[in-house]
Symmetry: C2
Subunit: 211 residues, 2 copies
C-alpha cells in the first residue's frame, strides 16, 4: 500500500492537499443552501459538508468555512434565523457547482446560474424549484471550531417537501430514485446504485437484507 505521513501532507502543493484531504473522508451529500438577505435578495450556495446530528429532535449540521472565505450564507442565516437545504440531481449538477463561484453581494446566484427560487407561504427562505427533496431549517446554534476558524452550524428541521413516492413505508427515503447525487472532494459528483439494506444488527444473529 501507499503510505503518507502528515508531514508529507504539509509539504504538498495547496490544491493537491485540498483534493486529497477532501476526498479522504469519503462520499458527501452536497446540497444547495437557500437564504434571503436583509434586503430580500435570494442567495444560493453549494455546501458539501453536511452531517446528521439527531432524529428527535431532528437536527442537521454543516461546516461553514471561515467568515472571510464564505460570508454570505452564514450572515443571512444569522440575520434571518432560517435557511433551506435542497438536494442536487444529475440535471442540475452544473448549475449547483457554479454557485461556488465568488459572485458579488448584489448578485443572486439563482439568476446567475439559472435555477428557479421557489417561495412558499410556509417558510421565510427560498427553496430550489428543481430539487426533488427540499427542507426548511431553523438555526439552532453556530459553534465556532477553534482548530481552524470554521463553524459547525446546527439547525432544526422545520418542514420537508418531497417529490411523491420517495418515502417508503418504513420512513426511508429512496434517494436513488430521487436521483440525488453524492459528491466527493471539491468537484466530483456521483449517481448511486443500491447494494443492500440490512436489518437491525444483534449479537450472534446475521443481519438479513431488507427487501
Amino acid at each position: 500500500m501507499q503510505y503518507i505521513h502528515h508531514e508529507d501532507m504539509r509539504a504538498w502543493d495547496r490544491f493537491f492537499r485540498v483534493h486529497f484531504i477532501n476526498s479522504l473522508s469519503g462520499f458527501k451529500s452536497a446540497s444547495l443552501l437557500g437564504t434571503s438577505s436583509g434586503s430580500g435578495r435570494f442567495n444560493l450556495a453549494i455546501f458539501s459538508n453536511l452531517v446528521h446530528i439527531g432524529a428527535d429532535p431532528a437536527l442537521i449540521g454543516f461546516i461553514n468555512r471561515p467568515r472571510e472565505a464564505a460570508p454570505h450564507t452564514l450572515a443571512n442565516i444569522e440575520a434571518s434565523g432560517y435557511y433551506t437545504i435542497n438536494h442536487i440531481t444529475e440535471g442540475i449538477v452544473r448549475q449547483a457547482h457554479q454557485t461556488s463561484a465568488k459572485y458579488g453581494e448584489d448578485i443572486s446566484e439563482f439568476e446567475a446560474v439559472g435555477l428557479q427560487p421557489q417561495v412558499r407561504g410556509t417558510f421565510p427562505a427560498p427553496y430550489v424549484s428543481e430539487s426533488q427533496v427540499q427542507y426548511g431549517m431553523r438555526l439552532e446554534e453556530v459553534v465556532p471550531l477553534r482548530q481552524n476558524g470554521t463553524f459547525l452550524v446546527i439547525g432544526a428541521v422545520e418542514e420537508v417537501w418531497l417529490a411523491e413516492g420517495l418515502c417508503l413505508p418504513d420512513g426511508f427515503l429512496d434517494l436513488e430514485r430521487a436521483g440525488s447525487i453524492t459528491s466527493l472532494g471539491v468537484d466530483a459528483y456521483y449517481q448511486t446504485r443500491l447494494v443492500t439494506r440490512l436489518s437491525y444488527a444483534r449479537p450472534g444473529q446475521e443481519a438479513r437484507p431488507i427487501l
Copy 2:
C-alpha cells in the same frame, strides 16, 4: 409534492422518524473506526456521520451519540488519544453493518464479525486489513452538542494507507475505483458511478468537465 411539518414528525413512530431523518440529509461516508482499549482489546464500530472540517491542518470530525448509547469507541479514543478510520467496500458491507450490534465490553468486534485487525508499528490503533483506504487519527477535541447530548469528535489526520493507484495526479482519490461504499439512513449501502468532475467555478465562466 408531499409536505411534512415538524409537528407531524414528533407524532411519528420512533423507527419511522429515525429512517426518515437519517436519510433526509443525504448520502454519507459510513466507515469503520478502530480503537484499542486500555487493556489492549481491539474495538471496531461503524460510524456514518463523518464530516470534513479542513485540509490544512487536515481535520475530520464525526458525530458520536450520547455516551450511554455508544460508549466504547469514544471511551477508547479519550483514553488513548488515537483511532483509525477505514473505508468499507461491497465485500465487507455485512461485517461492517454487524459491528453495530451491541456486543459486550469483553468482546472484540473484529473477531465477532470476522474482520482482520492490522497493527502497524507506525500507529497505536488497529486498522482493518480488508480496507482499501485507511487513515490514522489523533484526537483534537470532543465538542459536546447541548441540543441532544451528542458529540462532535474532531481529529487530525496523522497518516494514510492507500491501495496503489487510487491517488490521481491532482491529489483526488478515486473512491469509485477503490469500491468505497456510500451509505444512507441507518441501514442502506450504495456503490457509486461518476457523473462528472467540474473545474473551479468563476463568475461568468462555465465550469468544464475534468477528464
